[in-house]
Amino acid sequence: MTTITVLGDEVASATGEWAEGRPLVEPDALSAAIGWTLKPEGLCRDDMCVPVRDRSAMQVGDKVDLAVAADALDRPTLVDPDTSAVVLGQPNATRQAALRDRQAPDFTFADLDGVDRSLSDYAGKKRLLVAFSSW
């Protein structure tokens, strides 16, 4: 068994193993790693479930392939056995809703005092979102 670092919405660690380049974790670790739980009806979070079409591709023995689970959740995924890491991108559907349907994706980041702020905190106002950098 080894530790797999999961860079998802948060940075998480999952106990699991690498099998021929596949990141396999205990079903119980899936929730901590990606925030979703594997149930008979699919991958579930709160009262929402995403059906899993090919469960045999996701489950290897008694473990779950994190990358296949991420794919089922429509998230771009980078798997790197060398550093024992799995990176989960933001869901494709969220970005496409922004580009096609003009739905502004919500986000939460810390301000310079370390206080979390979300776009939705300012709902009801016209908002000028400015992406900038020091580089």
Partner: protein
């Protein structure tokens, strides 16, 4: 701009695609609106942002009224762009007061392709490895990111200070030249003067 319109149910939200909090703090000195830190570049995934500054107008209902546009907060580059910041500010005033958006607001923004998405994931892993002290692993993934999205400033230029390079040095001018030769590909609107 923010202070002028703050009473009109308008707010500026600035997000630094950056992990250099101290440098950002200097830039944000005196600013009264929220300045947020996005060290993992999640905003570039959510909004398909490939360079900064990128400005998005979002209305009171959470709809994008005008997508990613390359607008500057100063006139430092007006000589090159032909666009003044006052031109943009006038458009914002018309939007806030009258709900009028410029013609370019209906522009379609191209989606990120698979390589550009993968580049963002490699960048994020590289930044994580660097913070964890794995310089070699970080270099490997910064390189992979740059191979996948060689003209994306949020991938290539953002990595420069993290790799000990100057974001205004030789590497930057090489990137800028290649970018301009390729027709300055940007996921967003390049405003008319």
């Amino acid at each position: 701009m923010h202070d002028e319109l703050a009473d009109d149910d308008f707010i500026v939200i600035a997000v630094a695609i950056d992990e250099a909090t101290d440098e950002v703090r200097v830039l944000a000195d005196g600013i009264t609106y929220p300045v947020l830190m996005d060290p993992d570049h999640l905003l570039t995934e959510l909004y398909a942002i490939s360079n900064v500054p990128a400005v998005v107008w979002i209305d009171e209902h959470g709809r994008i009224a005008r997508p990613n546009a390359n607008e500057f907060g100063s006139d430092m580059f007006s000589e090159f762009t032909g666009r003044t910041r006052e031109g943009h500010f006038d458009q914002i005033r018309a939007w806030v007061h009258q709900g009028v958006v410029p013609d370019d607001a209906s522009s379609e923004i191209a989606d990120l392709d698979e390589d550009e998405l993968a580049a963002r994931l490699h960048f994020r892993l590289a930044a994580h490895l660097r913070r964890a002290g794995d310089e070699a692993g970080a270099a490997r993934h910064f390189d992979a990111a740059a191979r996948l999205a060689p003209l994306d400033f949020t991938v290539v230029r953002a990595a420069m200070p993290l790799r000990g390079e100057s974001p205004f040095g030789e590497e930057f001018f090489k990137l800028l030249e290649e970018y301009q030769e390729a027709g300055s590909p940007f996921h967003g609107i390049t405003p008319a003067p």
